[in-house]
Amino acid sequence: MREEIRRIQEAMEREAYVTDRATATAVYLSVTLQKPLLIEGHPGVGKTEVAKVLARMLDTELIRLQCYEGLDVATALYEWNYPKQLLHIKLEEGSDRSVREKEAVIFSEPFLLERPLLRAIRAERRSPVLLVDEVDRSDEEFEAFLLEVLSDYQVTIPEIGTVRATHTPHVVLTSNRTRELSEALRRRCLYLWVEYPSLAKELSIVRAKVPGIDERLARDLAAFVQAIRRQKLTKTPGVAETLDWARALVALGAEELDDDVTGDTLGCFLKDEADIRQVGVEVASRGVAALVADGVKPG
């Protein structure tokens, strides 16, 4: 294995992010080749976490752009500070500057409000990590605009001119696949698909993130989650839900996973009424132990 890849893997583990070679290699290449990294996977498998860990690892700023439908350039790139502009015009009332001069002043640097994309491009110290979260939720027009920015890392502000990145940001995009992303954007990026973790991996994640959890409790709950992930649920629980549940059990002082405590805490990792009913019935009829046994068997 390339030394750097191992080091990245180790560094990610140090940041309590349990990773694998696929992720470490993708992150390494993304930084080395300066290509954006597109991460897809089910909700709650730790896609966003990759960017956060990367920023901590590189000891650099994490700039996050949360996408949503209707996200526009003013929110993503820049906006003028209108109140400040108005105030300034007011203060300059008595001066004998021409309108043209006044205009040049109020549409200049000090009146510019940076939004995440511009901030990422203008980072002064070193390359920041730019996290474009849930890019599938933005609309096509924004995606096209984003592609443009990611192609040459420069933007044009009519009143100021073209701003070019001095330090190319490390870009991480995440998508939950609610919408198919454009081919062009996909081609521009490295690709990483994150699957639900295996039992062993999920157990290490629980150990790393919930220190002090009883070993047997951790084993049982990881196996239980594996078992119910194989069922057809409306919302399959991700790793985030497993961790919520583990923390809840620790807070409740539970020492083992029995039918009662499981039944009471289903809401920690199941987020849909029908799912809670379905799993509740199964716990009542078969017992937690049977489900845990299912989870230990390879799927």
């Binding site: 290449l29 080749l33 015009i89 007011k90 109020i106 924004f142 690709y191 698909w193 973790p197 295996s198």
Partner: protein
């Protein structure tokens, strides 16, 4: 460059070409990047090579299986990929022997009868026979059971429909326009205007979101020659109707029937019952596309305007006069925002739109696209927002 380096470049380039042939779109730019990537990893380590190439060349989850298969074929020895063996997806295959040459993998979610269709189409590649019922000029009487599909297949169609509907939803567009009432101040313009008055906002400027609104009219051919697809397409229509309010749906074979209300039921089952009760122009009978389109144009003229996309789902096998079809479609296309003709046969490589009906229709069609599998329906979404 060393000899070994040149060999690597050539091997990687050919590997990418092989992937392209299997439908994994590795562009030349990506092969170039792949070479760069390989020089950044440990070439002696198969796993490094595997993960590096995978991150670069693959760009969607569905391509992973094909990539794994080809990687083994091309880079030989097995890869120790313990880390990749998370969850249900298999990592790179360990044992060559178990991988007999297979057909290109298809997404597991694709409806089984579509797979059957695909294999039938592949079998028909040799001779010219297409898996078609011959169009007959007679009405076939009686209702048909459309429901022989599994929940999983229905689920896949539903997801596509939801995506399409999402794109069409009346949503505030990202663009603003100057507005008068109940709008937000347009600060950008306001600042400029108040320069004249020394910072006093004498003239106010407003803005509001433009509304984007697309309507759909779907005309679905349910005649005998469309039998293989129309049940599947009806599922799509049902799901579309559920997810998106502004769609009007018609079915036709020899006559035109409005089925919007029948589709607007709570469950697919009820919708099917309702459809069976309609005084059908004969499901799976002969086809009079031209007359049906003309009936739509004259019977529901108000459904057509510039914000409407008209979708015709048909294979173009018309037993009526081509002139009638051409004429009706010309008038429809003049009034509608866009006319999309979806032809399931277009997905078959040997198909050419030579039927007289299709020939008459094509000049008046803005988008002529296939509709034989889920992927093509997904691609359709692109043509639907005006």
């Amino acid at each position: 460059m060393t000899a070994a380096g040149r060999a690597l470049v050539s091997r990687t380039t050919r590997f990418c070409r092989a992937l392209r042939e299997r439908g994994v779109g590795a562009t030349p730019a990506e092969s170039a990047d792949a070479v760069r990537a390989l020089s950044a990893v440990d070439l002696g380590d198969r796993a490094d090579v595997y993960y590096a190439l995978r991150a670069l060349v693959v760009s969607r989850r569905e391509e992973l299986a094909t990539f794994d298969e080809l990687f083994e074929e091309w880079w030989g020895a097995t890869v120790d990929a313990a880390g990749a063996r998370d969850g249900r997806r298999k990592g790179p295959p360990h044992n060559r022997a178990v991988h007999a040459p297979t057909e290109a993998p298809r997404p597991a979610s694709a409806a089984t009868f579509l797979t059957r269709w695909a294999s039938a189409a592949a079998a028909a590649d040799g001779d010219d026979a297409l898996p078609l019922a011959v169009p007959s000029p007679h009405d076939a009487l009686g209702a048909k059971d459309f429901s022989a599909y599994t929940a999983e297949e229905l689920g896949a169609v539903e997801r596509v429909a939801t995506r399409i509907a999402r794109r069409l939803r009346s949503r505030p567009s990202r663009r603003w326009r100057s507005g008068r009432r109940s709008a937000r101040l347009d600060l950008r313009r306001l600042v400029r205007l108040s320069l004249k008055t020394g910072g006093d906002a004498v003239e106010l400027a407003y803005r509001e979101r433009k509304l984007r609104r697309t309507k759909l009219v779907v005309l679905c051919d349910v005649s005998g020659s469309m039998d293989l697809y129309s049940r599947f397409l009806l599922q799509l229509l049902f799901a579309l109707q559920q997810a998106f309010a502004r769609v009007e749906t018609f079915a036709f074979s020899t006559r035109l029937v409005r089925i919007t209300d029948a589709l607007a039921r709570d469950s697919y089952r009820e919708a099917l019952d309702e459809l069976a009760r309609l005084p059908a122009g004969g499901w799976s009978g002969g086809t009079k596309i031209g007359e049906s389109l003309e009936a739509f144009r004259t019977g529901w003229p108000r459904l057509l305007d510039r914000r409407t996309v008209v979708i015709v789902l048909s294979d173009g096998w018309d037993t009526g006069e081509p002139d009638v079809l051409g004429g009706a479609l010309r008038l429809i296309s003049r009034r509608a925002g866009r006319v999309v003709w979806l032809n399931p046969l277009l997905g078959s490589p040997s198909y050419q739109p030579l039927t007289r009906g299709m020939q008459a229709a094509l000049p008046h069609v803005d988008v002529f696209a296939p509709a034989h599998d889920l992927a093509s329906l997904e691609a359709l979404a692109r043509h639907l927002s005006l």
